[in-house]
């Protein structure tokens, strides 16, 4: 590959906005990775996502170019001053030369500063756009589908995505500078000494060669690093959330070692990625210092008049000699940055391989879910109460040999309440989730008014374990309805009934509660969840063990509100309590995943 080809490739990497040409394919080699298709999809995605920042990156590249011009000006005048000293005379234009050094230096400093800021701003834009898609994909994901663990998803947004930001900050800009700056310097060097100009030019192909060789294993190493980032985040988060249980079981020491092992493994994998990057930049640095050394020896020999080869000039001006020597390192600087950024690129591809499937799962597979989830009404069923129909529904879970539900047939007329009884583990929750659209059947079909239940709006859940966000009680009640009127809120509080609970809390509705509703007893949290359901306009409900945490008196006091909540809506209710099941219009008994009427 000639230097020209390299330069133009680097240019297109920035300028080719259509993204049909993978920018990272510049120096071949690394893309021969095993996960070829996944990797090339990630590359395309990465290239296409540059859009929002491209003007900034271009401007940053121009800044780099201006900085190079400033450096050329400073070097030329510095050479003039030194040579004047050699001649033992005051330079003809002392102030002009000193001014040149000063102005050149200051221009270079500020152009670099501006270029840095521009690149940062551009990268922030790209990152923000990608993050927006990623957050949508994770938070609005199809709840009936599979999703990554919370720890891994949090790592994707907070740790893997910034790798892409770093990449855009470094690479997009370095690619332009690597093309433009050496050209500018060649233009300045050639008139001074065409031999040195050629020498520098001939040392350029070593850059892509070097990247190709050292980049060989980098893709796989980066991939392993990214996997471990997700792994560590999942393990730490899960164990933090389980701390009090682990502590009670005396398992803290052991679990701490699990986390330490994961952290050490990440350090080890990161070190491997870095080592390859350092090796690459060292090789390049060695080539560049060697080339600078050759330039110094050649100019020195010419100055001394030792050079008597055919075609080569026998003489070089002293100012020219000092000038090219001062400028030679500046020629290699952008190339070194580019090589360093290329390795950021390997990490970026590895990160993109993780992020791209997450992001695109939303836009491709389940555009319906996105539409449903993003409408103001939300994804719950709010129209007339639907008819529920299950035909031969079987559900299997990964890692379990027997099905949770076996060939269940069921029909619930619109507006009816359907009770499900049965021993623990019989599949009651699974049945409710399938009917409500929160779980796809493995076999058979689950229909709401004739439409597959998991594809459209689904049931409002009152679960065995209500999830309550950290924040005030009022905020929890108004989930999804930021403009809820106080009157409606109090109505719901009276219906639940939640007033007893509120009286106990120090600040009433404004009491701050911790994550998962900490500060409330199990029964109180459940009552809050029921109060919240009163505020929803959902007409399809699944109610799973609503009184599991409550004592007999409280259960009794809740039966009437529950009856009111469910009347006129289609609902499934699972419970061990006969009193609760008495709310329903009819009851089936579930045993080992099979319905007994």
């Amino acid at each position: 590959m000639t230097s020209d080809a390299m330069t133009s490739d680097a240019m297109t990497a920035t300028l080719d906005l259509a993204g049909d040409r993978p920018p990272l394919a510049v120096p071949g080699g690394a893309e021969a990775a095993p996960a070829g298709t996944r990797s090339s999809a990630a590359r395309r995605w990465l290239a296409a996502s540059r859009g929002p920042g491209r003007r900034f990156f271009l401007a940053a590249g121009v800044g780099d170019l201006i900085a190079a011009l400033g450096t050329i000006l400073a070097c030329w005048n510095m050479a003039a001053l030194i040579v004047a000293a050699v001649d033992g005379r005051r330079p003809s234009d002392l102030t002009g030369a000193v001014g040149g050094v000063l102005i050149g230096g200051v221009v270079a400093a500020f152009a670099l500063f501006a270029a840095n800021r521009l690149a940062t701003a551009g990268a922030a834009r790209v990152e923000s756009a990608l993050r927006s898609d990623l957050i949508d994909a994770l938070v609005l994901a199809d709840p009936a589908g599979s999703s990554p663990s919370t720890g891994a998803a949090a790592a994707a947004v907070a740790e893997q995505l910034p790798h892409l930001g770093e990449y855009f900050r470094g690479y997009a800009r370095a690619a332009f500078a690597a093309g433009a700056v050496p050209i500018a310097i060649e233009v300045a060097v050639f008139p001074a000494s065409w031999v040195v100009g050629l020498l520098l030019l001939f040392s350029m192909p070593i850059v892509p060669l070097n990247m190709a060789v050292t980049g060989l294993g980098a893709a796989e190493l980066s991939r392993r690093q990214m996997t471990q980032i997700s792994e560590l985040s999942s393990q730490v988060l899960e164990r933090l959330q389980a701390t009090s249980s682990l502590r009670a079981l005396g398992a803290i020491g052991h679990q701490r070692r699990v986390v330490e092992r994961a952290a050490n493994e990440l350090a080890r994998r990161t070190a491997k990625v870095l080592r390859v990057a350092f090796l690459a930049s060292t090789a390049l640095e060695w080539v560049s210092t060697f080339a600078i050394g050759v330039v110094a020896m050649y100019t020195g020999a010419t100055l001394l008049g030792y050079v008597h080869a055919p075609l080569l000039p026998t003489h070089i001006g002293a100012q020219q000699a000092v000038f090219v020597l001062l400028l030679a390192p500046e020629f290699f600087l952008p190339l070194r940055r580019f090589a360093a950024a290329y390795h950021q690129g390997q990490e970026a591809i590895a990160a993109a391989e993780v992020l791209q499937p997450l992001t695109e799962a939303l836009s491709e597979d389940s555009s319906q879910t996105r539409v449903a989830a993003s409408t103001a009404a939300g994804s719950v069923w709010t129209g007339p109460p639907p008819e529920v129909r299950l035909d031969g529904v079987t559900v299997r879970f990964a890692g379990r040999s027997w099905p949770a539900l076996r060939a269940v047939d069921l029909r619930i007329a619109p507006g009816r309440v359907f009770g499900v009884a049965g021993p623990s583990g019989a599949g009651k929750s699974t049945l409710l989730r399938v009917a409500g659209g929160w779980q796809r059947p493995t076999e058979g079909s689950a229909l709401l008014d004739g439409r597959p239940s998991a594809d459209g709006p689904r049931a409002l859940q009152i679960g065995q374990r209500p999830y309550l966000f950290a924040g005030t009680v009022a905020l929890k009640l108004a989930l999804g309805q930021p403009e809820l009127s106080p009157e409606r809120m109090w109505e719901a509080i009276e219906s639940a009934p939640l007033s007893e609970v509120l009286r106990r809390l120090p600040d009433g509705l404004d009491t701050m509660l911790g994550e998962r509703g900490w500060g409330l007893s199990g029964g109180e949290a459940q009552r809050l969840a029921i109060a919240r359901a009163f505020l929803s306009s959902a007409t399809l409900l699944i109610v799973d063990e609503p009184t599991a945490h409550l004592d007999g008196d409280t259960e009794q006091s809740l039966l009437e509100p529950l009856r009111r909540l469910l009347s006129g809506r289609t609902a499934l209710i699972a419970s061990h309590s006969d009193r609760v099941l008495a709310i329903s219009d009819y009851v089936v008994e579930l045993e080992e995943g099979t319905v007994h009427a």
């Binding site: 800021r117 959330q241 966000f469 989930l479 120090p506 007893s521 199990g522 919240r532």
Partner: protein, 566 residues
């Protein structure tokens, strides 16, 4: 100054690979000196060649300086590689160790404090704040050492050449560093704001992901996504400001370099011919340039230090990590301490159950009393059931007995010991509390059971399943899914009861062990537990009167109402 170096100084003793870091710093100094020497020598060499060529005098050897230039170039490149690998590797190892310890400190927080913290916030501290600490090494310590070495060497040479050069370069260097320092004055606040908002954003993210189904149910997904977007985008402002300050620091160093070079050249040009060799002038100029190049690395040190200190403070404020006393519990001496929890001998089947004695015990939550118990005794080996309406204080009473309610008052004795005063290791060997919302980890049923007893045999694990009446519905190899999602509510509950059983404690406290179970299964579990642990004192909080009364195993019924015995 002491305060400034505190994070570095505190981390250093933890750096077992301290030798590697020292080596890295050594490489860094060699690389920087070789680099300065290389640039200076090359300049001197060219001018000398020019002089010789112009004056046609002989006696200058072209070969030796050239060889010197190449040798310095090789040294610099090799040393720089060594520097990068060593400093990064040792920093990464150090951070991994810090991460493990911060996690361990977090797990030792009092339960109440731990629950009040958000798990996403803690996660952020363990991930991002620990990551930020690396800047104390890589952006402060390494460039600091390099700059000091190069400045010492460079200024000495400049002083020998012309004292004025050294004074000019030295003063400008000080000025530049002073401006950097002034620039970094507000950085601490920026760094704090960035860290705080980042942490909150991550905490919200974790909650939104954990509560995804809830959000979808209430049509709040879009709102939550918008809020997250906004929160993460808001981080760009402090982040950009910090980077801008770093860039400004570097730009000012570069301007200082230009001014110094211009001054040296201007004065040099004037004095040349009055005793200053032009080749030496070239050397001086390029040496000064190298000096400022080294100082440029310090341009971002102020911001880096501000961020590292903020991170350090955030790690300390939450977990108490870094306090002098944290090592006491951390390094288990013969199985004692938190670290040794797994090694505690839980096979004390022969020991008698612990007697429970409470005298004048009271507890408050948010200012209002939730528990008021003048006297309560449970004889050793008894099976007691705690009943009462929801919110009566059952869970609080269990937490007090387990020594996990620090705000409680009065005298609590478990087998004659005060549970909140004994060591963690001793406490978990004596008392096991299975909370109502006890967590289950991703993995198999066996993995989760082994949390309670790491070296349990398959037969013991199978036996635990039988006691919890789980042996017919799940197997040891069953995957439980994230947070036990593949299991039913009742199965999850019984799995945690099986864990409690495997501990074979002297006092077993169970909060709603039969929740989500049909009455027949519930009674079977209670009877199995009694039979399997005949000597253990068992206290179970059960709100369901049917289960509480029907169980033949129950020897004592404690009724609670509004925090009082009734």
């Amino acid at each position: 100054m002491l305060e400034v170096t505190a994070p570095v100084a505190t981390m250093m003793p933890m750096a077992r690979p301290g030798r590697r870091l020292t080596l890295g710093l050594l490489y860094a100094v060699i690389a920087a000196l070789a680099s300065a020497g290389l640039i200076g020598l090359a300049g001197w060499f060219i001018v000398r060649c020019a002089q010789t060529g112009l004056s046609s005098t002989s006696g200058f050897s072209w070969l030796y300086p050239s060889a010197g230039v190449e040798a310095l170039a090789l040294t610099r490149t090799a040393a720089r590689y060594g520097e990068r690998v060593s400093t990064h590797r040792s920093t990464l190892d150090l951070l991994a160790r810090v991460r493990g310890r911060v996690f361990a400190s977090a797990t030792r927080l009092p339960i109440g404090r731990l629950r009040a913290l958000r798990s996403g916030d803690l996660l952020d501290r363990i991930q991002a704040d620990v990551d930020t600490l690396d800047r104390a090494v890589l952006a402060v310590a390494v460039p600091g050492v390099v700059c000091t070495a190069v400045a010492a060497g460079g200024l000495t040479v400049l002083a020998i050449v012309r004292p004025f050069f050294a004074v000019a370069a030295g003063l400008m260097l000080l000025l530049v560093l002073a401006v950097d320092l002034i620039l970094s004055r507000g950085s601490r606040l920026l760094a704090q704001r960035l860290a705080q908002e980042r942490s909150q954003a991550r905490a919200r993210l974790v909650e939104a992901l954990d509560g995804r189904a809830e959000l979808a149910s209430f049509g709040a997904s879009q709102l939550a996504a918008d809020e997250l977007r906004h929160r993460f985008d808001a981080l760009d402002t402090p982040r950009k400001r910090l980077t801008a300050r770093e860039g400004a620091g570097e730009a000012i160093t570069a301007v200082g370099a230009s001014v110094t070079l211009a001054a040296i050249l201007a004065s040099g040009a004037g004095v040349v011919g009055h005793g200053l060799d032009p080749a030496i002038l070239a050397l001086a100029v390029l040496l000064a340039a190298a000096l400022f190049e080294a100082a440029r690395g310090l341009g971002s040190a102020g911001q880096a230090l501000a961020q590292a200190r903020t991170a350090w403070q955030r790690l300390r404020e939450v977990t108490g990590f870094g306090r002098r006393d944290w090592t006491d519990e951390d390094q288990p001496a013969g199985g004692a301490g938190v670290g040794g929890g797994a090694n505690v001998d839980v096979d004390a089947d022969q020991s008698l159950g612990a007697e429970v004695e409470l005298t004048d015990v009271s507890a408050r939550y948010g200012g209002s009393p939730v528990l008021e118990i003048p006297r309560l005794e449970i004889p050793p080996g008894a099976f007691a059931v705690l009943t009462g309406p929801s919110g009566a204080g059952k869970s609080t009473l269990l937490a007090v007995m387990a020594g996990e309610f620090p705000g409680g008052r009065g005298r609590v004795r478990i087998g004659g010991l005060d549970p909140s005063a004994i060591s963690y290791a001793q406490r978990v060997a004596e008392v096991t509390l299975i909370e109502q919302d006890a967590s289950i980890l991703t993995g198999t049923v066996a993995d989760n059971l082994r949390l309670a007893r790491p070296n349990a045999t398959l037969a013991e694990l199978q036996d635990a399943l039988r006691v919890a009446a789980l042996d017919t519905s799940i197997q040891l190899s069953t995957e439980v899914g994230p947070a036990g999602d593949y299991l039913s509510g009742g199965q999850r509950r019984r799995l945690t009861v099986a864990q409690g059983y495997l501990r074979h404690p002297r006092l077993l406290l169970l909060d709603e062990p039969t929740e989500g179970l049909d009455t027949a299964t519930a009674l079977r579990v209670l009877a199995n537990l009694r039979a399997a642990l005949p000597k253990t004192t068992i206290v179970a909080a059960i709100h369901d009167r049917n289960q509480a009364n029907l169980s033949a195993s129950v020897e004592q019924v404690i009724r609670l109402n509004d925090g009082r015995l009734s």
